[in-house]
Symmetry: D3
Subunit: 283 residues, 6 copies
């Protein structure tokens, strides 16, 4: 008698044979408003079975890919540096085996770890970032490492012209000013995504989706809900565009905080976003 | 002193004088993910009084129709066959009296019962079906009778070319393939609804609305929320189109599960959908 | 050691130096369906700190205006007349000091008090009103003062041709009929807002936003959710239009009922609506 | 076909044949903290079917009594005087027919109405009152009629030595002082209940149970939860004691506010309290 | 890289070496009031990590036993007979391997399956049953298999004098009458448990704990909350008594319905009850 | 016009004249299970107005003491060392002014800061600690500073024989063993509290109450609910005992996490505990 699998739907292969590796990084130690993103990975695994593995959008099925679900890392909540180090080591092991890391946050700060690992492997790493917030502060109440500074820290890794930000609708005036010089930042919308995707078609790309890019009506279960976001049809348009990329080397979805949404619709949105993103980019 | 009525708003006539009969079928015994649709009928009755009986969309009023609210059937939760039989007998009594049955689910399986009764009376019965899910499985974990197979079972009653499905966004690949041969199935949208309505203008039509056709942001209180659905404006467009039908012989709204939405907005959506549907089709 | 401020974000000036004065009117004694709007002001103050004081829509910042937050009035829940009198006296003090009153409800009835005070000061006062409901009843179950009659009572103050209503989607047939003669009422949409704003460009205008004008998916936390409303992008379009007014002499946002929305998204919507409205109209 | 009954469990007789009449008084217009007691009567009716009509405590069954459920009065929320008048008239009709009124609140203020009606019929009317709060203020923020003054107003009807209060654990110092002269008030506990019951054995007695007398752990769904209350076993001890009274002429349970307790346990407690109270005192 | 375990705390051994086998039976198809017990097993696994594996009550640790967690059976919700058959087969496999089955429900009906399997192996099987409800109906709305009939069905397996019921506080009069002849039933309390345990000291015993035996204040997350139950200290007293049994051959905890208790305290109670029960009886 | 106070009830004096100073320390960065204690201080301030300032237990009133409410410290969530330093400096300022610090957490780790400040001033500082958990780990997942190690760190400050722990019901075996040598730890109950209080009558004492010492039924809104705790009557007994201390030099109540308890009863319990504790010990 063997213990039953409790993986995300469709991620039922062994590690060895798999092309991509899913794992959870349940850390939310720097959340500034409402913590709880740590509960996202198990919530998504459990509710993923209420959607299908088959996508009528792409007419393809997770079961036709080779996908492995590692489960969750055990991370120390009060120690952001150690948590990031542990995630980075885990990603390193995955990319050393030539597999694609797929991470479920946790808060957005966790995205720094895979970017650090991947930027060593891919000199020319580009970032495509969807979010309500700029996340470009130099520090937040004195902290350099925070979910409000993570894209600035990612920029520190990859440099000018590599970070592409879409749908941003909240930040300090200084952040928007800074972005004009250092990143490609589109306010509110994603009209420039097609040209960005065209430009990065064959480049190594890391995709990070802060789920609060979606309107709070679609995604109430998140730590810092910001009205005025995109809806799920927009998210599908975005993912269809991303499917034209040929070299996605890693990805994450972060900032689901399931306990703030007892109805479970936020978890369903996170699961379906992940399913479609994987079907679109894991090739 | 007489006990006060607790009907749905505007359904305050006696049975004899009424043209249409509302009743609840609070059964959810085959729900695969989150049960609770059994609580929909009383929740809708109670909250219906927070909307008006008058519709500014149609400039008409439920009070100008002759409508009766029977209340709810008492159904055995663990016995789907008996439950369906009891609903069917109840519908038979209503249509024998030349009245239109209007059913509040319960889960979607309950729709099979009125279709069985009506398909005996109307040889040429057509179905118009709105849903997130295909519901076309031959069986679900071995069960032929399930909320995931109900449209397939309805098809068994009415046959090829009679079932029209709109806004479908989830299912197995096999279901979509099967539908190509046996039903009219429009994925995601309802662009073909006008031509369908035109074709069925004078035919006997049964309308079944699985409320999860609406996006989970609009309708969080449902058992299997599926992101990417239509919004309430779409629902009004659909109902305006349905108002062109001349022979609607029965209808239902199913899969509201009110306890998963403490804010009550799902119940409000269900109530208003029912009000508009009745004003559009009971003539 | 001084007690820490707990104002709405960006409302951190002293009364004397301020141009506009925010205050809460936590009264909900006539609510017909779900009471609880009394809890809105403190909820908004607390959660306002999760949004920024800077708006990327207007590229401006609450901190660049001079704004004071008084806190909340203490109002007797069971005595609507006294509550209205106390609010009116408070507004009188504010406008006597040539400052702009900004009120957070409470239920919609509270809007009557500032209009009474302002209509004495400005003979030509006009009203711009956003709501799901007409609020034009002569009385509600015999009460002349109610959140269902408030715009009729406001009309009693300002007279024919002064009240402009947008996005209305619920009411009695009589109310819609009455409006044809006495107010400008646009059903469902706000297409006529630009011409209205043009006409009232330099007139004294009071703006009242019943937050249930937003769709319940966007604003679940309200006492009488009415499906079919506008989304937050519409609200931003409306506010951009309102920014063309040169003489907004008072404003309110009412009918947030935060305890019906545990996710907090309704409070976030109310806070951002208020921020943008203030940035658009306080000059 | 006749509309299905939706009465409280066991209250299924006609008015004429009944010995006692249940009705709801869904008024909560003077609630000082969290309103919502208006939703108690329908919530209790619906969930009453999840308990049995048979009590193993008394080995008796509601079905063996003759009980009628009128449903709810329609009361104006913003007008406490009218609401009280309407309740009083309703009670008058019941007692004129020599039946026992059983009222579900609503907030505690509603108890004044039956006492007014009954104190005219029974010169020697006594009150037995269970509550967390004294409810003895002369006025509350200037209001003489309030859920914080109701027992004082009841005292105004019945006079010195007629009001008996148990388990009281919150109030102003003045209220406790006042009570020493005018009522029998036992703080925290109900040790003096047996002697009180003995004394009032054959007197006409009205029983009013503010459900917040129970500890908030047992009864979270109430408008002003006050820690330190009794548990359900205490409530059963109290009711067993009350069963020794021979002339209970009316009773109420008030201050259930079901929307603050999504788990439904408060409603279950209210239902079972009512069942046992009726079995103990309706003879 | 191997997938991370997601077992119940302390159940981390392999099947082969283990003495007892935990599994979930997530079936709730006959629940009469509020369904949702199907969600108990994964909720308990996840939250079990918030308690310790060490018990200061028994000064012992789950890690010192050999325990295996199989995960959950996949059961058809609409087919109670098949579900019971599948559970029974699973238990058969466990007891054939001379291991002790430990089941997490699901609704109470699932307890019938292990009793059927065990009563074949142990001719002299006794049942110790804790519950708010008698569960002794011959049928429920015509169904012989139901969570309201399960102990009657278990009686059908084991016969007169074998079923011992404690703390029962709800049922039909007929059930209590029937119990007088066929089971040992103690109403409300567990005073006779010590003598029962003494009598069954060396007999094969199956323990079934319907968690609604606990008061709803302690255990709000259950499908049919019944006020007046025991508290957690009572539960510990009970378990200490049960620790004197020498031959417990199987056990279950059923009827946790976690989605009705967003605070999570019911799940914590279920986890700690299971931990203590296992430490007390697995030898 | 001056901004309205939003202090805790009864804490309405100025700093200068006050004897004790209340402040919030909204830090929860090391919480191991469910974060959210950061939201406790504003929740308690707001809901404190639903209880009275007068205590019928002590027949005394907060308004008769001189009490100041500072409001909340602004603390960096991701930086526990800085957060502790900022709290300690704040406490230092209070005790330098010869006032008594009263802290609302936040998680339990925050208690370390006042103890550090006070142990410098009072060489002979003793600790009285109420909790479900030992909190005596040397480290938690490698972290020396954690809500699971805080009492060990406090011990590091004050040394052997100074820490008195009551009602402890969860921990590692090692912690209980360690406690035998270094602290006074009473498992489950508080029978030894009277002798402890007698011994410490005139010593400087710091009282720290982790509210999860209360049973989860009484206090569901906490991060690590542990069944089997004391009830509110026990808490009152404890506080009455503590009132015999003559030199309480500081105190805190920690680990209320209000968002996990939508009913608000946990916040009410925290408020009343604080009121009684202050009335008992501030002299």
């Amino acid at each position: 008698m063997e213990a039953q699998n409790s993986s995300f739907i469709g991620f039922e292969n062994d590690y060895e044979e798999s092309k991509a590796v899913l794992f959870g990084a349940p850390f939310d130690g720097t959340t500034s408003f409402k913590p709880g993103a740590r509960f996202a990975p198990p919530a998504m695994r459990q509710d993923s079975w209420a959607i299908e593995s088959y996508s009528p959008y792409f007419d393809s099925d997770l079961e036709d890919l080779k996908l492995f679900d590692y489960g969750d890392l055990e991370l120390p909540f009060g120690d952001k540096k150690n948590a990031l180090r542990m995630i980075q080591e885990h990603v390193q092991e995955i990319i050393d085996a030539n597999k694609i890391p797929i991470m479920i946050g946790g808060e957005h700060l966790v995205s720094l770890a895979p970017v650090k690992a991947l930027s060593k492997k891919y000199e020319d790493l580009h970032i495509i970032h969807f979010d309500a917030h700029t996340d470009l502060r130099e520090d937040y109440l004195g902290e350099a490492l925070s979910h409000a500074t993570v894209i600035r820290r990612i920029y520190d890794q990859v440099g000018d012209g590599k970070v592409n930000q879409f749908c941003i609708r909240s930040g300090l005036k200084e952040e928007f000013e800074w972005a004009k010089k250092h990143t490609h930042l589109e306010k509110f919308t994603y009209n420039t995504l097609p040209s960005c995707v065209k430009r990065l078609k064959d480049k190594p790309v890391y995709i990070t989706i802060d789920l609060d890019v979606l309107d709070p009506s679609v995604m109430p279960g998140t730590g810092t809900p910001e009205p005025g976001g995109i809806d799920f049809h927009d998210m599908m348009n975005i993912i269809k565009e991303l499917s034209k990329l040929n070299n996605v080397v890693g990805m994450d979805v972060v900032e689901l905080s399931p306990k703030y949404d007892a109805s479970g619709i936020s978890t369903a949105v996170a699961c379906k976003t992940l399913r479609e993103l994987v079907l679109a980019t894991v090739k």
